[in-house]
């Protein structure tokens, strides 16, 4: 816990000789008052990873996600995301970091007073896209992809749980981010819809996006990712590099 960020950065550099790592956690701890959400967690996720973070309820999965998009600051350790040390980041850099990341929030975080279209379009507007046409086309195509193109004009509170989750998925993908963080992206979905979303995530992964999914869905775990990180009570239980494991 006394290891300085510089040291981590060096470790990072060494690690990336083989594989370009996009997300790196080094001895990260996150405390809330007396309780700890994350204790001494270290892992790296490379650019071409499809990482799964798993563990029981309250294990710290969402906390890891929140730390990556800077929804939460860490108590100790250091975190590197796409080459940026999150401890050293300046305030104006935060939005730039976040635009590289698409997040599917566990509680969706849709704006109730904006339509589905408006919610998804906001990502592009915030990223500085000015053209109405480009926004319209991109948003509608991603809404079609997740299967709720017909609800574009609805407001989130009028959608079913699964529909809201699909809007959240659409919003995370519309900006074509480098990294997608999916916090239980299929919890509210029936197996069929869940499969479709999972397939979608694999498609974007195939196109070069780093994907991090938290899940307690056994099916998802069985399908496997390239790297599976198992947490319990905020501590690391295991990291499995699926490709290495398969090669055993």
């Amino acid at each position: 816990m006394d290891i300085k960020p510089d040291k981590h950065e060096k470790m990072e550099t060494r690690a990336s000789r083989k594989k370009k790592s996009v997300i790196g956690f080094f001895n990260v701890c996150k405390f809330y008052g007396e309780s700890d959400a994350i204790v001494d967690v270290s892992f790296t996720i490379s650019k071409d990873d499809f990482a799964l973070i798993t563990g029981p309820s309250g294990a710290g999965k969402s906390t890891v996600i929140r730390i990556i998009y800077m929804g939460e600051t860490i108590s100790s350790g250091s975190v590197i995301v796409d080459g940026m040390n999150l401890l050293r980041i300046t305030r104006p850099q935060v939005p730039l970091l976040r635009r590289k990341i698409g997040v599917i929030f566990q509680d969706f975080k849709l704006i109730p007073s904006k339509t589905v279209f408006g919610n998804v379009a906001l990502v592009l507007e915030a990223a500085g896209v000015r053209s109405k046409n480009i926004i319209h086309d991109k948003v509608m195509s991603v809404l079609e992809t997740v299967g709720i193109g017909d609800r574009a004009a609805s407001y989130p509170p009028t959608l079913s749980g699964g529909e809201q989750q699909r809007v959240a998925v659409a919003r995370a993908m519309v900006g074509e981010p480098k990294i997608i963080l999916a916090d239980e992206p299929t919890a509210s979905l029936d197996p069929e819809a869940a499969d479709a979303i999972y397939q979608l995530l694999q498609d974007v992964h195939a196109r070069g996006t780093t994907v991090v999914v938290t899940t307690h869905d056994l099916n998802l775990l069985e399908k496997g990712g390239t790297r599976v990180i198992h947490l319990k009570s905020g501590r690391m239980v295991s990291i499995v590099n699926q490709d290495v494991w398969n090669g055993l």
Partner: protein, 292 residues
């Protein structure tokens, strides 16, 4: 910038309820502040009509001829604060005195001769209404050879001046205090709007919007609220004014004075202040919500 305007406008419509309530509050605030402006402007004007009565009388030495008198009038007119100088002959003064004394004018009948001197009535311009200035003016006029003595309503002037000053000072203090209070009220209301929308702000931030993107529509909305509220408030006042004039005027028995609505310039100033205050309310409140 145009896109911010568009977003502000659609936000405005989307949060009808919030913005309706806020506009109402601003309108009522503007109403209050402009009602008091209306009151003090008119009360000030009313006091000014009284002040017209203030004049200095210079009694001339007996036997000053017309030429000397005209020269004197010119010299007095040259003083600061002198609006007009009128010659009052001793005959005129005597007949006025008779009228003034009224019932007891019989007592003047015993006099075979008019004992009054010729005099000059010096009207003071309104801007120079100041006890000290008038005292100074009187002392200067007294030094002329042709002038025997000077008289003015010193006591009444001092008293009126006191009331007038008191009124002006309390008016200024009051309107300033109310203005500050109104400013806080408007800021508070905008703060409540931001509070109701904090979740939306937070979500917008975590999907990668920068502060400018979040703030600008709020600023524009606040200015729009201020503008709408300002216009509504003044309209409201105008309607109230129009409705209450019939109650005030006939009872007033003040034929020499008509109550006027606030001047257009003041109206415009009030609307502009309303926009600025709303904007500032937003400016200071949004920091709280953007850094929480």
């Amino acid at each position: 910038m145009i896109s911010y305007f568009k977003r502000a406008l659609s936000d405005f419509i989307r949060h009808r309820f919030l913005h309706g309530v806020c506009t109402a509050t601003i309108a009522l605030s503007v109403f209050i502040i402009s009602a008091f402006t209306l009151f003090f402007v008119n009360a000030g004007a009313l006091m000014n009509t009284w002040q017209k009565g203030i004049r200095v009388i210079a009694y001339l030495e007996p036997g000053v001829n017309q030429g000397a008198r005209k020269a004197l009038i010119q010299r007095i007119k040259a003083f600061d604060g002198v609006e007009d100088v009128v010659f009052i002959s001793r005959q005129k003064a005597f007949s006025w005195l008779k009228k003034e004394i009224g019932r007891q004018s019989s007592l003047l009948e015993g006099l075979e001769d008019n004992p009054l001197p010729d005099s000059l009535e010096i009207k003071i311009s309104r801007s120079a209404l100041n006890v000290k200035d008038i005292e100074y003016l009187a002392s200067r006029i007294k030094t002329f050879n042709a002038v025997n003595g000077v008289e003015y309503a010193r006591k009444w002037l001092a008293r009126f001046k006191g009331v007038y000053d008191l009124f002006r000072i309390t008016g200024i203090i009051l309107v300033t205090m109310v203005f500050i209070a109104i400013m806080f009220i408007v800021a508070n209301t905008i703060r409540l709007i931001l509070f109701s929308r904090r979740e939306e702000i937070e979500i917008t931030r975590i999907i990668g919007a920068d502060e400018e993107f979040i703030r600008n529509p709020f600023y524009i909305e606040a200015a729009m609220l201020g503008f709408l509220g300002g216009i509504t408030g003044i309209t409201l006042l105008f309607i109230s004014f129009a409705l209450s004039m019939p109650t005030i005027s006939p009872s007033g028995i003040l034929p020499f004075f008509t109550i006027r609505f606030i001047p257009p310039a003041a109206g415009i100033a009030i609307v502009i202040s309303s926009v600025i205050v709303s904007w500032m309310g937003c400016y200071f409140s949004i920091r709280r919500f953007l850094h929480m």
